[in-house]
Symmetry: C2
């Protein structure tokens, strides 16, 4: 579908964990002109290879001390995604996945604390139609949390 050459891979490797790295520095490290790099990056953006540039913020700094995963069973007719879309629209929800096994969604959510989670489940999640049951898993401690992808060494064209 999308074909990335050696140089694209190197660019991605270099900017994945340093989104603000300058084109000039990329150019130096790859032995190219900055304008050439810029053109490639623009193309990677247009192709959808680069999805976004994000600043990762410490959740504790915003008083979001609680992280939880919630499994949700729905009674929607198969193929309908209304519930999942409704859930995805709730800002506290970071992830919504449709998972294998009994009509289930898995979502990842951050709130201030367990009280605010309960409150959120009653006032936001609970109002959505189609939920049959939920199973909540509270995170006690996070050892690793990244969106970093493992990038292969090189693949030429």
């Amino acid at each position: 579908m999308i074909n990335l050459d050696d140089i694209d891979i190197k660019i991605l490797s270099l900017i994945q964990d340093d989104a603000c790295k300058s084109n000039s520095e990329l150019a130096k490290q790859l032995g190219m002109a900055p304008s050439g790099i810029l053109e490639r990056v623009r193309k990677l953006e247009k192709k959808g290879v680069i999805e976004s540039y994000n600043t990762r913020i410490n959740p504790l700094a915003l008083d979001q001390k609680l992280l939880a995963f919630i499994f949700i069973k729905s009674n929607e007719s198969f193929g309908s995604m209304q519930l999942a879309e409704d859930i995805a629209n709730l800002t506290e929800v970071q992830e919504v996945h449709h998972i294998a096994g009994d009509d289930c969604y898995l979502l990842k959510i951050r709130t201030t604390d367990s009280q605010s989670l309960i409150q959120w489940m009653r006032e936001s999640l609970g109002k959505l139609p189609g939920i049959v049951s939920t199973r909540t898993t509270i995170v006690l401690e996070t050892l690793k949390e990244t969106s970093h992808l493992t990038i292969p060494k090189a693949d030429k064209s």
Copy 2:
């Protein structure tokens, strides 16, 4: 612990989903001098409020079509985190959480496909000591996946 004022909050709001936004533009939008913005951003980095600047890459572009969550039960003595650290060191693993309930870890992992997942579980995960059992959940479809935090409107001081 960390005190953020109104301006800090606005800065974080503006750069959370646009890591490369220029200081000058931030300055314009906040009615400040670029140098003042720079000073605040540097301070947010030093305080650990800003953790990193990431480029989000489309996993499909790197042929990582499979996303899975794996629950792992360990037989480690309580308080030891050796297994969790070992798991966190595996590059395919994006997240490792210590979760409430029977000595369990939850991890998030990306691989090329289900075959490569099986292979990874045998050759990488399976070699780590301390694993009693695993339960794997395959993601069929992802509707939302972000590390975006909900930022409060304003809080003055």
